[in-house]
């Protein structure tokens, strides 16, 4: 043994056995339990524990819910216990544990005493790791969904703007030409009405296109897109937005611009829906290679730690996900009765074709 005396080692091994969070079982050649540590005893139902200790064969099967093979999530086919000669260094197994239900474990089984055929069976709780993995997957998925949604919106918005609205505009021009032709009073009046509806329809289509994704954002950048959006909010909802920015025509990476725009949109919408104010402030500026966005209202505010948020609760979640897309940082401060401040800062990558 390297640098450790036999006595010390057995002491440490005893401690490992007694204090480890990993469940350790010893089985004899026939699959009967010789012993188990406290961690192992803790996960077993009283009943199963007693049966196991009494040496009842198959008792372990009451708590084992099968292991994962390449064919199945949980299976008993060629059970890891069935072949006493076989060592398996790592596999995944499900155990029905006391009080916590079915939990995934990473397990290993190996012979430690060839002479007597004694095998050690170790279980390590994987719940936490799986949760982490699940979360990671979910985030990755969410990001993909956000990107896909953005692309789709862009496509439909372009289509509406470039083809449908254009065609509509040509008809409108034709109609206007007709007004100067020699037509009667009655027809002229009708024509004017049609012109009115057509103009409104054209406006509707444009609004729809902008609502999906503003072409201004791609063509002219954040400042212009915000200006248009805030004007639209003011007209539609009567909410006044004080927009302070020292940006001019700066352009940032397409993704950064999209994220900042969408988060601002969401924040403003939240203020509109819940803050019960007539006025909010939006600040947008660049400092030390960081783009800062601040959306502030002096409205009702909310409890940031509230478990059940008003509305879908997806808004804030989506904002956080979007922020992560561009390695940004998002903070939400809110005091009931005082108002809400949402701060976003994003490291900026300049767009090459600026």
């Amino acid at each position: 043994m390297k640098g450790i005396s036999g006595l010390q080692l057995s002491d440490l091994l005893m401690k490992l056995y007694g204090n480890s969070a990993e469940a350790i079982f010893f089985f004899d050649r026939d699959g009967n339990v010789l012993g188990m540590n406290d961690a192992a005893a803790d996960i077993l139902e009283q009943d199963v524990y007693r049966q196991l200790m009494a040496g009842q064969s198959g008792a372990i099967c009451q708590t084992c819910k099968g292991y994962m093979s390449s064919d199945e999530m949980q299976t008993c086919a060629s059970c890891y216990m069935s072949n006493p000669e076989e060592d398996i260094s790592s596999f995944q197994v499900y155990f029905d544990t006391k009080g916590k239900g079915v939990i995934p474990y990473s397990a290993s089984i190996q012979t430690i005493d060839h002479e007597n055929g004694i095998r050690a069976f170790l279980l390590r709780d994987m719940t936490h790791q799986f949760q982490t993995q699940e979360e990671l997957n979910q985030k990755r998925m969410m990001k993909r969904v956000i990107k896909a949604q953005e692309n789709e919106r862009k496509r439909i918005s372009r289509e509406l703007h470039d083809s449908v609205a254009q065609e509509m505009l040509s008809s409108l021009v034709d109609l206007r030409v007709m007004k100067y032709m020699n037509i009667g009073e009655e027809a002229l009046k009708k024509l004017q009405q049609t012109e009115g509806s057509l103009m409104r329809l054209l406006d509707d289509i444009r609004h729809l296109s902008v609502e999906l994704r503003p072409a201004t954002l791609d063509d002219l950048g954040l400042k212009a897109a915000f200006r248009t959006h805030f004007k639209w909010i003011e007209k539609n909802y009567g909410l006044e937005i004080l927009f302070l920015t020292d940006l001019e025509t700066e352009r940032y990476g397409g993704e950064v611009e999209t994220v900042v725009y969408r988060i601002c949109q969401e924040a403003v919408f939240n203020a509109l829906k819940y803050a019960e104010v007539d006025e909010i402030t939006v600040q947008l500026y660049e400092r030390d290679d960081m783009l800062h966005l601040i959306v502030k209202d002096e409205g009702k505010g909310f409890d940031v730690n509230e478990i059940e948020p008003k509305g879908t609760g997806l808004g804030l979640f989506g904002m956080k996900e979007r922020t992560e897309l561009v390695d940004g940082d998002l903070t939400v401060e809110s005091v009931i009765g005082k108002g809400t401040i949402i701060r976003l800062c994003v490291p900026v990558k300049r767009r090459e074709d600026g």
Binding site: K189, Q192, E195, G196, E234, K235, G238, L272, D278
Partner: protein, 153 residues
Amino acid sequence: MKQEVFNIQQEIERIKEEFDFDYVGVALVQSPDRRFELRWKHVTGNQSDRHRRISLQSGKGIAGLVFKTGKPMFVADADEELGREDLYNYPIVVAEGLKSFGAIPLYKYNRVKGVLLVGYRTEEKLTVEVFQEFRKRIGLEFGPFYSKEMVLE
């Protein structure tokens, strides 16, 4: 059409008085050079000035809906019927705290040219009966407008 100048403001104030409404407003379609916008031009009983900033898209908000459909709209309990979550889509209702209200289209040349909105800040105060009575009282004509599509029957 009546010959004397019709004063909408006076008229809505009279209506407010008569039915003891909390709020009466008229939204009108603007001239072509104002791009046919739909705006709240006359209001009385208002508690905020939010209406001045609002220009409605057809199909949105109370006026927008009545404008687009050309049909009256009646809501006895705003929170219940429009849903608290979606209420922000009706900015006037929110800004004025209206709880029960009704709106009728105002026609001119068989086109909706405006919307007349009346309401209370109390749930269920505007009942179907009161709304009927109001519509009967307005009759077919409201100044240069009429309250029904003049289709030959």
